[in-house]
Symmetry: C2
Subunit: 190 residues, 2 copies
Amino acid sequence: MEFKEILKRRTIRFFKQQPLAREDFNAMLEAARQASCASNKQRLRYIVVQTKELVDAILPHTAYAGLVTPRRNPEINKTAPAAFLVMLAEDTSGKHIYADAGAAVQSIQFAAWERGIGCCWLGSFKPEKVAELLNLKDPAKIIYLIAVGYPAENPVTEDIDADGNPAYYLDDNDTLHVPKFTVDAITEWM
Amino acid sequence: MEFKEILKRRTIRFFKQQPLAREDFNAMLEAARQASCASNKQRLRYIVVQTKELVDAILPHTAYAGLVTPRRNPEINKTAPAAFLVMLAEDTSGKHIYADAGAAVQSIQFAAWERGIGCCWLGSFKPEKVAELLNLKDPAKIIYLIAVGYPAENPVTEDIDADGNPAYYLDDNDTLHVPKFTVDAITEWM
């Protein structure tokens, strides 16, 4: 797929009840390991959670689209993700590990989208509950989760100027609208 | 360009002395504005620094490839970048703004690479000096710089296992080798 098509990627929160293949995960993890990171230290680690039992157990401890809650909360056996990718690091105290994580997430999302797979990058979840379910001793090592699966919704973007409101919203057809500032609105030239 | 080609992107620190076009910057900024960000708040802003005078003035206040310093420091009129992208935010105190920045940087780098342009994501620079040169009142608002330009070097990656050493190094031909952990080395499956 051409990059301009991949760039149309949007966050997906409702998923088809369809499993992913091992090669789908491998493509996402390949994109993750090639992502830029501070001093090439590659401090991020991943757990692929793909058993339905564990995915369903984690789901209630994750939060989606706060501005329209609960209307974009995926439901078990209806719109739940096929898997979660769990991002971890030994030391999550610095700011650069979050930058590394952001770069890896973006790369993962592109690799997924190329294969027709959607992602939701999750910063809001209960680390203690997730750690317990995954038998991890230290919840603080979990940086982010990514919910993944085939899209069962079709969000759209719309351009806004510098004084526009970036708050996303659902229309009467239950389509999510995601306002994005134009290049002019966010850029200065020198 | 296909995404698998773009994924071969590597960090570039030596650049050809060749300017970039407005449409090159627009492509990078388009990728930036479409990147994922926390709650779609889009808190990142950009300054494109493209005048040679300003680029050359900023260069001494940026640092490159600490493990092989000074052998990957770009030099004015020889290997200097064509431009700097300066990433800013009003509030840089939280961790999620760094995640947003990482996602945007990764997206920018892919858009650049598709056009044959290389980037160096810079976390090590003197914010006070850069702010002074750009007439910015608050150096704390500067999150990262990205040096951009046409590549004048050709770094290579090599795979390493979980017990491998991720330290990059220069060989006798002045080629930078960048070890990357394999997918197996960084992934657990559940």
